[in-house]
Symmetry: C2
Subunit: 445 residues, 2 copies
Amino acid sequence: MAAADADTRDCDLVASTLHASLEDPALESMNFLNEVGGRYPDAVSFASGRPTEEFFDVALIHEYIDDYCRYLQDRRGFSKEQVSQTLFQYGRTKGIVNELIARQLAADEGIEADPEAVVVTVGCQEAMFIVIRALRADERDVLLAVSPTYVGLTGAARLADMPVWPVRSGPTGVDFADLAAQARRARDAGFRPRACYVMPDFANPSGASLSIPLRHRLLELAAREHILLLEDNPYGTFHDGTQLPTLKSLDTSRQVVYLGSFAKTGFPGARVGYAVADQRVAGSDGAVALLADHLSKIKSMLTVNTSPVAQAIVGGKLLAHDCSLTRANQRETAVYCSNRRQLLAGLASRFPDTGGPDRVTWNSPSGGFFVVVTLPFPADDELLKFSARQHGVLWTPMCHFYDGVGGRHQARLACSQLTPELIETGLNRFAALVADPRSRAAAGG
Amino acid sequence: MAAADADTRDCDLVASTLHASLEDPALESMNFLNEVGGRYPDAVSFASGRPTEEFFDVALIHEYIDDYCRYLQDRRGFSKEQVSQTLFQYGRTKGIVNELIARQLAADEGIEADPEAVVVTVGCQEAMFIVIRALRADERDVLLAVSPTYVGLTGAARLADMPVWPVRSGPTGVDFADLAAQARRARDAGFRPRACYVMPDFANPSGASLSIPLRHRLLELAAREHILLLEDNPYGTFHDGTQLPTLKSLDTSRQVVYLGSFAKTGFPGARVGYAVADQRVAGSDGAVALLADHLSKIKSMLTVNTSPVAQAIVGGKLLAHDCSLTRANQRETAVYCSNRRQLLAGLASRFPDTGGPDRVTWNSPSGGFFVVVTLPFPADDELLKFSARQHGVLWTPMCHFYDGVGGRHQARLACSQLTPELIETGLNRFAALVADPRSRAAAGG
C-alpha cells in the first residue's frame, strides 16, 4: 500500500481525531444513498423523496418577495426603508414570519400556537438539532425514536452526542409496551429519556399513520412518563381526503414540540422550517421562559437567524393562499395522490398474492410520499447496487432507517418526483429485479 | 415568593436539565447587550456593528436573482427548468456558488482556493460551528482564541462543549509567548489544542490588525505547534487604502481554515458565509478526503444545505461586480472610513491628552467598524445602563469579549451604522458621560 502510505504522510489531520459522527453508520447511509443515485443517473429512481418539480418557476420567487413586502407596507405600516431593512439586515433570532406560521397552523392543522412559541429555523433539520441540543444536557440524556426513523433525526442526535434508543413501531405505528419499557430501562440504567421522536402522518420511511385513539394514548403515555413528544409532520397535507388531527392539536398539557417543515409544502430551496415549543421552563433564578426562547438562544449561536429573504418568500406564499398550505398545494397533492395510487395499483398487478413464501407485500398509505415493499429476500445495499446496475431502478433499503438492525427484507419506494410513465417503467424494472433468479444471490445478506 | 412558586409549579421543564450553554455568561452577554439596545431606542448607539443601511433596496434582491439565473442559462448552459430546479430543490450540501466564491477570493484576497475546498454555510456563524464540531472529538480537545474574542466564536464553542482558552493579544495583536505557553500547558494537562481562532484584520472587538511579519510568525508557530489557525475576516475589505495579505494567502502548508462572511460585504439577511478547508484528512480506511468534505457531512446533519435562493442572491452580487467585493463595496467602504475618521477626530477634540491618570485613550485602526476607548474608570454593564439612562448613548463593555476577565476599563465604539450627525451627537453624550462625576460611582466595579 505504498500509494496510500504516501497519501497519508501528506495529510494534515487524521479522521479518528474528528467528531465521531463523521464515521457513523447513519451518516454513511446518507452518503451511500446519495452516491448510488449519482452513479446511475439513467436509472428510474424510487429512492428520492423530493417534491415534484412540475410547478417550480423562478417568477414565483419574485412574486412571493413582492407579496411579503406589500404586506409589510400595507398591513403592518412599514416604510419603504423599513421593508428593505427587514430583508437586508440581521433580524430577530426567533424569526419574522411567526405570526403567519401561527395562522397557517390554525388554518390547516387546528393548532393554536402563540407566535412567541414559534422559532423559525433553517429547514426542519435545524429545528431538530436545536431541540436535541437543548435537551441533551449531559451523558445521561437519551432520545427515544419510533423505528424505523428518519435519518436526519439520527444525524442531528449524533451531532449533539445524544444516543437514540429505537422504539418498535409494531403493526399499529407505535408499540406502546416497548415505549414504556424503553423509558423504564433507560431510567433503571441511570439515563434520562427526554423525548420520543415520532412522525404520526405518512411517516418517512414507513408511510404509516397513527389512528386517532393511538394519538391520544401516545399523549397520555408521554405525560405519564414525563417525556416530550417531538412531532415531525412534513407530509400530513398530502392526503387522499382524510386528515387526522396532529398530536399538537390534541395536546392539552404542552407535551408536544411540533417540528414544522416547508420543504414539501413550500419548497426545499427556501430552507425554512420551524419548531413550536410552548413548554414553560423554570430558570434557576425562578424566572419562567418558553422553551422556544431557549431554542432561540441556541439558534443564535448556530446560524444567528434564518434568512429574512427566505422567510419573506415563505411568508409571501402563505399570504398568497390566505395562510393555508393545504389550499396552496392542491395541485401538488393531486400529483402525489395520483402517483401513489398508480404505484399501489402497479404493485398489485405485478405481484398478485400467491399466498406462498415467495410473495411480495406492501402497505397502502392514504397519503404522503412513501410505500414500503417487503421482498422474499434481503433488500440490502448489495441488492440495490445489483438493481441499479442490472435493472436500472433505484429504491431505498429500509435497513438504513433502523440504525443497523431491522427492515432487512424491505424497500422504500417514493414516487413523489416521477411522471406516470416513469412509474410504469420503474415498476416493470422492479418486477424484473424481483423475478431475476440472480437477485437472491446478489443480496449480501 | 408565592407567585414564583406558583409559576414554577406550572412549569414543564427545569432549565438546569437543559444544555449548559443556555446559562453561560457568553450567551448572557449577547442577550444583555441586545436587551439594553431595545430598552433605549432613542439612545445613540455605538454598540451595533451592523452594516450601513444606506444602500439597501429590495430591487437589488430581484436583480441579483435574475443575474444569477442568467449566468446559469447563458454561461453554464442550464435550461429554464434546470434554473428553477436549482433555486427550488434541495441542492448540493457544499453549496452552488463555490466557484464564484473562489474567484472572489482570488480577486480580492489573493487566495487560490479550490472550489471543492469551499463549504457554503448559513452565515459565518454556521461555518464556525461546523469547524468546531468537527475538531471537538472528545473532552480532550480545546480551542485557543486570541483574546478579546468575538462572542459568536465563544457561543459556537459552547454549543459543541469545546473549552476556549484565551491567548493574550498584547500590544502587537498576538502574544506569541502566551500562545506557545497555552499550547504547551494544554498538552501537559492531557488536552489537545486543535486550533487557534484569530481575526487578523480590524478585529471585532479590538479593531487591531496584525503586521505582515507577525502573520508569517503566526503561521510558523501554528505549524510548529501542529494547530490549525481559524482565520475570520469579515472586515478586511473596509480599509483606508492598505490591505494586508490574509493568513490564508500566505499559507503554504494548509495551516489555515478561512472563515468567510458576506454579512458585511453582501448583506446580513442573505445569511451566507463559507469556510475554506483544504486540509487533507486521512481516513481510517486509508482514503484521503478534504476537511471541507467532512465539514459538509456535519452541515448535512445541521441545515442540509444553504438556501440556493440566498446563494443565488450572493452569486448575483458577485457576478454584478466581476467577483470583486472590494469593488462592489466602494461606496460602503467610503462611508465606514469617513465615519471612523470622524469618530477618531471627535475623540481627539473631546479628550485632549492631559498626560494624567484621568486621561481617555483609544486605538486608531485604519479600517473596519470598531475603535476601543480606555476610560479612567470601569466601563462595565452598570456604567452602560447609567450611560443609556442618563446620557442616551450606548456602547459595548469590552469585558464581554474577555470571557469574564479583562477589558474592565474599555468600551468598544462602532460607527458603521451612524450618520455624521449622530456620530457628533453620540460623541457629545459620551463626553458628557465621561465628565459626569456620577459615572465613577455608577460603574459596578
